[in-house]
C-alpha cells in the first residue's frame, strides 16, 4: 500500500464513520457467535443459583454420544431360542447394560435409537440423546428433499413465466405471494388445510375420489407429518427462488437462443446448451440459500407440530430453542447451534467445491 493515500490520511474520520455500523455488527453478529461457542463449553443455565463452570466437551458428548451393542437372544437349557407368545425371540433387557453396568461404561445412560437383527442376535444403536439424533436425521431428510425439489420447481416456474405473454405479471405476483406472507401465518393456515377432521386437503381428496379417500390426520401421523411440512415449506418459498432464477434467465442474451435456433437446436437442446450453462452461478446461489434455509427449519415446526408426533418432526433448530429456552439449558442450546453451524459450513464448502468454475 502506498503511503499517504486518501484512506490512511483520513483514518480518524474513516473510523468515525465506520464505528456505528461496525459496532452494531460486533454487538449483534460477532459477539453472539463468540458467546454461543464459548457457552457451549460450559454448564450455563438461563436462571441458576450455581456458578457457571467450564465443562469441556460434555455438552457435545451428551448430544452426539452414540454407541452400539449386539445382544444374543435368550436361550433355554437345551440351547433353543426362547420365543414369547407373539412368536418374537426374547432378548435380555437393554437396560441391564446401559444402567449402572460396570462392564459397559461407554454406553452407560444411553437409550435405544434403532436396532436390527434376527432371532439369534440383535444389534442396537444407542444414543445418549435419541431425540437430538432424530432431529438431525429429520433435518437432513428435509434438506435432501426440499433443496432439489424446491430449486427444480422454482426453475420450472421461472421458465414458464419468462415469456412475453399478456398478463404474465399476474402469474408472477401469484407465485410470489406466499413469500411475502409471514411463515407463521402460512403455517397456521396450512394447519387448517392438513386438519384431520374436516381439513381442506381431506375434503378435497375425498371429493376427487368420490368419497373413496378416507381422511387422515396429516400432522398427527408420524408417517405423514414431516412430508406434509416439506410440501408446505416447498410451496411457501418456491416463489422467492423463482424470482432469483428469473433474474438469472434474463441475463442470458436472446441472440444466443436465436443462434441455437438457427443451428437447429430443439427446445431441450436450447435449455441444455444455452439456458442451463447460463444459469450456473444462479444455481450455485440458489442451492446454497435453500440448503441453509432448510437447515434452519423452525417456525413451521413450532406452529404446526411442536416436534411431534413421536418426535417425527424434531429438527435441529427446534431442539436448540427447546433446550435453550424450554429447558433453560443455554449451554446445551448453544452447543446445538454450534453443531448446526459446523454442518451448514461443511455443506456449503462442499457445494462450493463441487460447483466450482473449472479451469
Amino acid at each position: 500500500m502506498a503511503k499517504g493515500t486518501k484512506l490512511t490520511q483520513s483514518n480518524r474520520a474513516g473510523w468515525a464513520f465506520a464505528i456505528p455500523g461496525f459496532g452494531l455488527m460486533v454487538m449483534f453478529i460477532i459477539l453472539p457467535f463468540v458467546f454461543a461457542i464459548a457457552l457451549s463449553f460450559t454448564n450455563q443455565r438461563l436462571i441458576s443459583p450455581n456458578p457457571t463452570q467450564f465443562v469441556g466437551l460434555a455438552n457435545y458428548q451428551q448430544l452426539l454420544g452414540v454407541g452400539m451393542i449386539t445382544l444374543e437372544s435368550e436361550r433355554d437349557d437345551i440351547g433353543a431360542i426362547v420365543f414369547d407368545d407373539d412368536g418374537e425371540a426374547q432378548f435380555p433387557r437393554l437396560r441391564g447394560y446401559t444402567r449402572n453396568n460396570p462392564d459397559y461404561p461407554r454406553i452407560d445412560g444411553m437409550r435405544e435409537w434403532f436396532s436390527w437383527g434376527n432371532d439369534e442376535s440383535r444389534t442396537y444403536v444407542l444414543a445418549r440423546d435419541v431425540v437430538f439424533m432424530k432431529a438431525i436425521v429429520n433435518t437432513v431428510l428435509f434438506v435432501i428433499v426440499v433443496a432439489p425439489v424446491q430449486a427444480g420447481l422454482a426453475l420450472c416456474l421461472a421458465l414458464l413465466i419468462n415469456q412475453r405473454l399478456r398478463g404474465i405479471n399476474v402469474y408472477r405476483a401469484i407465485y410470489f405471494m406466499p413469500v411475502v406472507v409471514s411463515i407463521v401465518v402460512v403455517s397456521l393456515l396450512w394447519r387448517f388445510i392438513y386438519d384431520g377432521n374436516d381439513g381442506l386437503l381431506n375434503n378435497l381428496l375425498s371429493g376427487l375420489t368420490f368419497g373413496a379417500f378416507e381422511g387422515r390426520d396429516w400432522l398427527g401421523n408420524p408417517a405423514t407429518a414431516l412430508p406434509s411440512i416439506m410440501a408446505m415449506s416447498i410451496w411457501q418459498a418456491v416463489g422467492f427462488h423463482m424470482v432469483i432464477w428469473l433474474s438469472g434467465l434474463q441475463t442470458i442474451s436472446p441472440t444466443l437462443y436465436e443462434a441455437a435456433d438457427i443451428e437447429g437446436a430443439s427446445k431441450w437442446q436450447s435449455f441444455r446448451y444455452v439456458t442451463w450453462p447460463g444459469l450456473r452461478n444462479t444455481a450455485v446461489l440458489i442451492l446454497i440459500v435453500i440448503t441453509m434455509q432448510a437447515f434452519a427449519l423452525f417456525a413451521q415446526i413450532d406452529v404446526m407440530t411442536n416436534g411431534g408426533p413421536l418426535d417425527s418432526t424434531q429438527t435441529i433448530v427446534f431442539q436448540a430453542v427447546e433446550r435453550g429456552y424450554g429447558k433453560q439449558d443455554i449451554s446445551g442450546g448453544s452447543a446445538i447451534s454450534v453443531i448446526l453451524f459446523v454442518i451448514v459450513l461443511t455443506i456449503s464448502l462442499i457445494q462450493r467445491y463441487l460447483t466450482r468454475e473449472k479451469n
Binding site: S253, T255, L256, E258, A259, A260, D261, I262, E263, G264, A265, S266, Q269, Y273, V274, P277, G278, R280
Partner: protein, 363 residues
Amino acid sequence: MATVKLKNVRKSFGSVDVIKGVDIDIEDGEFVVFVGPSGCGKSTLLRMIAGLEDITSGTLEIDGVVVNDKQPKDRGIAMVFQSYAIFPHMTVRENVAFGLTINKTPKAELDAKVAEAARVLQMEHLLDRRPSQLSGGQRQRVAIGRAIVRDPKVFLFDEPLSNLDAALRMDMRMEIGRLHQTLSASMIYVTHDQVEAMTLADKIVVLKDGLVMQIGSPMELYHNPANLFVAGFLGAPSMNFIPVDVTDKSGDLATVRNVSLEPISVAHKDRDIAVGGKAILGVRPQYLRPVPPAEGMLHGKVVLTERLGSETVVDVTLADQTRIIAAISEDRVMQPGEEIGLVFDAAQAHLFANEPLPESAPH
C-alpha cells in the same frame, strides 16, 4: 449456393408496418448488402430471411422453394450476429461444432469440418480457448466459423463488424470479402456503414422506412442514384443539394439556375421536372473545383476549411444561403469570409424532382 427471392414481402408489428412490400432478387453466389439508416428495417428483413421473424405477407424463396413457414434450421442458412452470439461456456471448437454436435454428425466428419473452417479463418491456434480469452475480432471469426461448418446455401451477416474498432473492422471487412471469394456462396450482409457496403457488395439494396430505395451495383448507385435519398446516403462527404429553378427543358436536358448558380443544362432523366417549377441539383463535393469568383458557376463565401493534407474540405455558403461542401484534392489555404467561385462538370451533376431534402446523411 442458392438464389434468394423476396416477393412483395411485408412485416407488421401490430399496426406498425416495418417492411412495406419489398422485392429483391439475389443471384447464386452474389454478395448483397442491405444498407440504410437505423430503423429502416434492414435487420428485420434479414431476420425474416433467417426465419427469426415471421413474414406477415409476401413470399420468400430460397433455392426456388418457398420457405415462409420453415424453421430457421430448415432454410439452409447460417447467420453471424453483431454480438457474435457465441456460447460463453464452450470452447471455440465446441462453438464451431455446435450445429454438427446437435445433428449427431459422426466425429470424424465433425473434426474434419471444424479443422477446415479453422484453416479458412486462420484460427487453428484458438480452437481450445474459451470465448472469454478471445478478442472481439477473434470472437467474430468463431461466429463465422460456426456459420461455415453448416455449409449453408446462404450466409446472413447482421452488422458483423459494428462492435469492432476501426482498424479491426477494416481487417475483418477484407477477410469477409476474401471468404466470399473462397466459398463463392450467396451472402446477405446488413450494415449501416456505406464503406462496407461499397467495398463488399456485388449488389447494394438501399432501404429506407421499410421500402427499397434502389438496387444496383455500388458504382451504379454512386454514379446514378435513383433518388435524393440514395444520392445523399452514399458517398462521403455526402452530395450537395442545391434548390434550383427550371428555366428550360429540351430533349434530355433541363436548364436550371438560381441566384447563386449560372444557368446550366443537366440531364433530367425523365424525372418529374417542369419548366417554371423547382428542382434540386445534386453535385458531389469531390466534383467541385475552386476558381476565382468571377469565373465560377456557383458563387459563395468560405465559412470553414478543413485541411487534411491530401484534400481540403471547404464549407461554403452560397448567395442563396444554401450550404455546400467542396472537397478539393489539394492542400489549399482559404480564409473564412473569402469570396469563392466553384465549377463542375454538368455530366457529373444530377437533377432531382423537388421534394423535401433527406434530413441528414449518416456520416
